[in-house]
Every structure is written in C-alpha cells, then in structure tokens.
C-alpha cells in the first residue's frame, strides 16, 4: 500500500529552493571565477588605457622637452586644433581614399568574385587557387611590406621593373610616382583572403533551390546574384565591411614600411599622422585627440553598417 502525503507549496519553497534558482545560486561563483580574469584584463589593458587616452586628449601633454614636466588641462583645444588643421584633415582624406579603394571596393569586390568563382562546380584546381589567395593573409605584416618594397623598388632590379623591362618598359619609381595606388594594391592583396573566406561561407548558406527557382523563372546569372544571392548574404557582407573598415583604418605597418607617409605626405593616412604626432613629435595630447576623432568616425561608420545590415553584433 502506498500512502500519498501532500506537502503544501509554501513548505516546499521554504525547505528547498527551486531548481533554476538553485542552479543560478550555485554557478555564479564559478562564472565569476572564469570571467573575472578576462574582465580584469579587459579593464586594465583596454578600458583604463582608453579612458586615459581620452584624458590625455584634453591636455597638452608632451613626451619630451620641458613641456613634458608640466602638462596642463586644455579642454577641447586639441580637438579644435585638429579639426581646423589642413594636415589632419588631409590625412583623414587620405584614409578615406585608402579605405574606399582598398577595403570597400578592392577587397570586398575581388573577395566576392573569388568566392563566387570558387563556388562554381566547374572550376578546377580550387585548392591551389584558394591556397594562393590565402597566402598573403598568413604572411606577417612586416614581411609583406618588405616583400612589396622589393617588388616596387625604384631600381631596375625591382621585380616589377624587371617585368616591365621584358616588355621594353623603363624602370619606374612606383612608390614615388603612384604611392597611394601602391599601398592600395598591397592592402587589397593582403585582405582579399579574409573577404573570400567570409563570402564563401555566406554563399554556402544560400539555399540552392532558391537559385534554381530563379533560374527556372528565366533570371540570368547577374540577376540571380543581384536579386537572390546578395539580399540573402547581406548580413555577412556588411559584417565584413565593418571588420575591414576597422582593420583598414588601423593599418600602420604596411604603409610605414613602404612609404612612411611620403613622398610629400601623399600617403600620410591617419594612423601615420597619429604616430608622427604622438611618438615622433612627442605631442601625445594631440595624438590622443586625433585617435579619439578617428575612433568616433569608425564608430559612426560601424553604426551605419550595422543599421544597413540589420545584423546583431
């Protein structure tokens, strides 16, 4: 015989916590211990330096000279100075050109073309093609810069000049005659692989039946891409644009090693300008203000991308 005893709900609550609450109560120390170190590291190495950078941007701090001994709060003077400085505005313009042609147009378009080509079943040697495109991505930035410095070298021994010579061309000082074009091409070369990988993954998620249906309805390849594929991969495309914008605005080593912002400031993108001001001219206050302005611009661009993509990041 079985005897059933009813226990009042209130008594249950009093004697035992509910399962989800108990789980929460028992796991939070574990979560805290695991997340704590990361949170501390982020706080110490990212948040605090950023806040300190913001503070520096409001001072006339210098790294060297007598001025380094007695920095003063100058309010928004550094921002006013920069936003009325032809040099800084010019560097923002150079950054815009570099970003537009190397990342937004170059990497994105060519990355998409490469991804589409690699998704075609009739393409042979995909492994070789994919590896060739991926290679620039794994080469360290300094090595890539030195390699391209050799390719674009002024002397007749430069790789590109040797190639030109085969066709009877005269040696050209590429980094002097077309410096912006040179760094744009090098950045496209370097960033193409990441774009291709992201777009390849996105294209694989496009249902084949939708494309098939569009073709049955008589759509041509371009129409299929424009009206079916592209809308379906809009999220990854804008996510890529967001990532490449952030990374391209932050490009420093590639340009520094190839042109150092020259000749005559023709490739002085914002990262080079900030480096010069903050570390070469020792004006860390102005350099910090320039960094904050650049950060705000990137955040605005990022917000636009996120809104256009309607993706969660």
């Amino acid at each position: 015989m079985t005897t059933l005893v009813d226990v009042p709900a209130s008594a249950q609550t009093a004697t035992r916590p509910s399962a989800p609450r108990r789980r929460r109560g028992q796991t939070w120390p574990f979560v805290l211990i695991l997340l704590g170190p990361s949170a501390v590291l982020i706080l110490v190495f990212i948040v605090l330096p950023a806040v300190y950078g913001l503070w520096l941007s409001l001072t006339n701090t210098q790294l060297t000279g007598f001025a380094a001994r007695d920095p003063k709060f100058v309010g928004l003077d550094n921002y006013t100075y920069l936003l009325t400085s032809a040099d800084f505005l010019n560097s923002l313009g150079q950054t815009g050109t570099f970003l537009l042609f190397s990342a937004i147009i170059g990497q994105t378009v060519l990355g998409m073309v490469a991804a589409i080509l690699l998704s075609r079943p009739w393409i042979h040697g995909k492994g070789f093609f994919g590896a060739a495109v991926l290679m620039p991505m794994v080469v360290p930035e300094v090595v890539a810069s030195l390699t391209w410095a050799s390719v674009l070298a002024t002397s007749p021994e430069g790789t590109l000049n040797r190639l030109l010579n085969i066709f009877g061309g005269e040696p050209t000082a590429w980094l002097q005659t077309a410096p912006m074009m040179a760094i744009i091409l090098v950045n496209i070369w370097r960033g193409l692989a990441f774009a291709m990988i992201m777009f390849q993954a996105a294209l694989e998620d496009v249902p084949a039946e939708l494309i098939e249906a569009a073709r049955v309805d008589g759509a041509k390849a371009v129409q299929v891409f424009r009206h079916v594929t592209l809308p379906l991969i809009r999220g990854p495309v804008f996510l890529y644009l967001l990532l490449t914008t952030i990374s391209t605005v932050g490009v420093f080593g590639l340009v520094y090693f190839l042109t150092r912002g020259g000749p005559g400031g023709q490739t002085r993108i914002a990262a080079i300008y900030i480096y010069e001001r903050a570390l070469q001219f020792s004006q860390i206050g102005i350099g910090s203000a320039a960094s904050i302005i650049l950060l705000v611009i990137v955040l605005v661009l990022g917000a636009v991308y996120v809104r256009l993509a309607k993706v969660e990041v």
Binding site: P37, T64, G65, A68, T154, R260, P263, G264, F281, S282
Partner: protein, 448 residues
C-alpha cells in the same frame, strides 16, 4: 559539484600564476652586494666595441672590491626608432642604466627630466679637465647642467671621390663657395649622367636630415638661428631661407638623388651603394665615414679608402662666408634618472671614457677624441684621419641649441621633403617650415 569548484579553483590559480609570472621582472641589485647595470647600444660597431670592453671593466671593479656586472642590450635600430622606443622606456622608468645617445636625444630627454645630471660626478673626476672647452660648451644644456659625456666627437665635411673626379678631369681643390661647387657638380653630371651629391634631406632620413644635413649648412652661414639668451628659435634668421634655396638649387639642377632620398632607409642606396660604387661622387658625412660607413669593418667597405676618398670643408653659402667644418659633439653616454645604480653606471661611463678603452671605441666607430690627452694612446694614435679630425675640431663651427631641436628637425625634414617631391621651391619650403615649426614648437620656443 565539488569537482566543479576544483576545476574553477585550478583555472583561477593558473590564470593568477600566469599573471604574477608576467609581472615579475629581473632585478638589478643582488642581495649579496653585487650590482648589474645595463647599457643599450643600437649600432653594430658600438655593440662590438662595448662588448669588448665589458670584461676589462668588470675585472677592474673586482680589483677595487666592487662586484659590478654589465649587461649589454644589443638592439640594432635607426636613431629615430631608438628615440621612439627609448622615450617610452624612460617614461615608464624601464630604461637601461646607461644610454648612448645623440644630441637631439640629450636635449629632449634632459629637459624632460629623464636623464640624471652628471655635474656632481664630473666635478670629482680628474678626467673632466681634459675635455676640450668647446666640447664642454656643446654638452652643457639650457639649465647649465651636463647630462651626457661624449664618447667621441666628429667633424662633418663633404667627402668626395677623389679617384672619380680626377679621372673625369674635375677640379678637386677646396671649393670656396657653393656656386663654385655646383658648377663642378653640373660638370660631373654632364659627363656621367649621375646625381653627384647626397646631403641628408626629407622625412625618410629621420633626424639625420637636420643633424647631418641642414644644421651643418645653416650653422656655417648663420649662427643666430638659436637665441641662447631667451632659449628660443629665431625662425626669421636669414640662414634658413638660404639653406632651403640651396637644397632647391641642388634638386632643380638634378644633382641630388631625389628618388633614393624619398625611399625608406635612404642612406642605403646613396651612402652604402652609390658612393662606394662611385655613382655618387660627393656626400655630406662625418668623421665616422672613415670607419663606420666605409672602413674595412664598416657598413660598405671601400677598398683603398684613403686613396680614393678625400674631404672638402663645406663651402661658403652666402656672400662673405668661408669654408668650414661642422663639429658634432652633443651626445654621449648618459644615465637614466630612474636608474637605481647610478654610482655603478658612472663607474662604467668613466671607464669607457678613459685611456685605451676610449681609444678602442673611437677607432671602432670612427670618431675623434673629445679629450686632449688621447693622441698618444693606441690604437687611436695610429689613425691619421681621426687625429686630423681631432685637430680640426678646434676650428670647426658649432651652434649650441636647446629645447625644441627635435621639433625643428621634424619641420626641416617635412619642408625638404616638399623640395624633393617637387611640391615646393626654396621659398615655399621655407614658408612651410616656418608654419610647421611654429606649430610644433608652440609660442614659448619661437623668438618673437
């Protein structure tokens, strides 16, 4: 559940241990009374020279009952890279105890308070009385104190390929004026098609554009560009424009290798390739060219150097100017203000700045002695070019400057870059220079 806590505790311990390990750093003081000091060198010849002297110093200290060890930090860098890197370390209090620095660094860092004044040490050292008065003047900073002791001194002149010019039938006597020299350079260009002269210019050459190019030209025609009374830069002093116009003349006549000068590391194609090959025939160069650049163990040795190469003094630039050499003495060994081993560091500097150890370093780097008692000390005594440079030092020109030298150097580099890239003539470059320099120096460092 217990297993969960164990895993969590283990993870936390590993992270904490890793963090603490990262925080630990090597100490300088030994608990047994021994002291380890650090010195940083960024040029291979200096690295080799200093590493050779360290055992002798440690042995001498041991004889005196002092247990002092020296750790050499060898990091081959350009002056610009070194200054950028070391500025951060000095601010962070992580700089080596002993630094081997250039003049601009001595000015910039001493005024910021990053270097220890050496006056108290110098006043108790009998070696100090042997330094030439002109050297003492050059290394005394605006606040009247000395922060660096020169390891050597140099005289900048125009080095020229005597063999090539003679073969071309071009006059090799000392040119009295720049007009006369430009006439000869044009003759060389017509006969060879080369760009016959290199003077540091542009941003790619870094601090050398100012220290080894523009400043020697400026100081030879105008010593009033820095006002020591007010510690300000006189940007309206007439020499500035004259030098920018000289650069413009050289570039517009096709006499300077403008493309090479706009590439990163411009000294490589010019001083290390074309001058040794005879494709550049004249180069603005310091005494160290005899060893550091073109000597048997230099960057690019020129076989038969003393037969093939000779020197001219810089010609006069403006009416009434006479030929001159430019002395370079403003840097040297310094002690970081945050060093915990200043006494030991000073002992090492004294050792490096005396007798045979100094003579060996001077020969290795190709510098003249800043002291009057070294001419008979081997191996320095066996180097006629260096001895001659030492003699020339007394007659050479030098202008003592102060805070803002690094900023002036940057503004000059940018303005000469405009000339190299064809974006400005001499006057326009000067105007751009004044604007940049005023901007970089701020109102307190520009003479009204």
């Amino acid at each position: 559940m217990k297993r969960t806590y164990v895993a969590a505790a283990f993870t936390a311990s590993v992270v904490a241990a890793a963090g603490l390990t990262g925080c630990s750093a090597g100490g300088g003081d030994g608990s047994d009374g021994s002291v380890t000091i650090t010195i940083m060198e960024t040029k291979q010849t200096n690295i080799d020279a200093i590493s050779k002297e360290i055992p002798g110093f440690e042995a001498e200290m041991a004889e005196q009952g002092k247990d002092i060890k020296v750790e050499l930090i060898a990091d081959v860098l350009t002056d610009e890279q070194f200054m950028t890197k070391m500025t951060q370390q000095l601010i962070a209090g992580q700089a080596p105890d002993v630094l081997d620095i250039g003049e601009n660094m001595a000015i910039s860092w001493s005024s910021a308070g990053y270097l220890a004044p050496l006056d108290d040490y110098l006043s108790e050292w009998d070696g100090w009385s042997h330094y030439y008065p002109a050297v003492k003047e050059a290394i005394t900073r605006q606040d009247g104190q000395v922060y660096s002791l020169p390891s050597g001194a140099g005289v900048l002149n125009l080095f020229y390929r005597k063999d090539i010019l003679t073969e071309l039938g071009v006059d090799t006597s000392q040119p009295e004026t720049w007009d006369e020299l430009i006439g000869r350079l044009v003759e060389v260009k017509e006969k060879t098609g080369d760009t016959p002269i290199v003077i540091p210019a542009g941003t790619a050459w870094g601090g050398g554009t100012w220290g080894e190019g523009f400043m020697p030209l400026l100081g030879g025609t105008d010593t009033e560009f820095y006002d020591t009374e007010t510690d300000t830069w006189d940007l309206e002093s007439p020499g500035w424009l004259a030098v920018f116009e000289l650069y413009d003349d050289l570039v517009s006549n096709g006499l300077m290798p403008v493309e090479d000068l706009q590439n990163p590391n411009p000294w490589e194609p010019t001083k290390y390739e074309k001058f040794p090959e005879g494709e550049i025939q004249v180069a603005a160069q310091g005494t160290w060219g005899w060893k550091f650049d073109w000597g048997p163990n230099g960057a690019t040795p020129i076989e038969g150097l003393v037969e093939k190469v000779s020197t001219w003094q810089f010609p006069g630039l403006r009416s009434g100017d006479k030929p001159y050499g430019w002395s370079n003495t403003g840097g040297g060994y310094a002690i970081s203000e945050d060093s915990e081993n200043k006494e030991a560091a000073w002992e090492f500097i004294k050792y490096l700045s005396t007798g045979e150890p100094l003579a060996e370093q001077l020969v290795a780097s190709g510098a003249a002695s800043a002291r009057d008692d070294l001419d008979d000390v081997a191996p320095y005594s066996e180097e006629p070019q260096l001895l001659q440079a030492g003699e020339d030092l007394g007659e050479s020109v030098f202008v003592v400057t102060g805070d803002g030298a690094a900023q002036i150097g940057q503004a000059v580099a940018s303005a000469t870059e405009l000339i190299l890239s064809g974006q400005a003539d001499g006057q326009q470059a000067y105007d751009a220079f004044v604007k940049d320099a005023t901007d970089l120096l701020g109102p307190t460092l520009v003479k009204e």
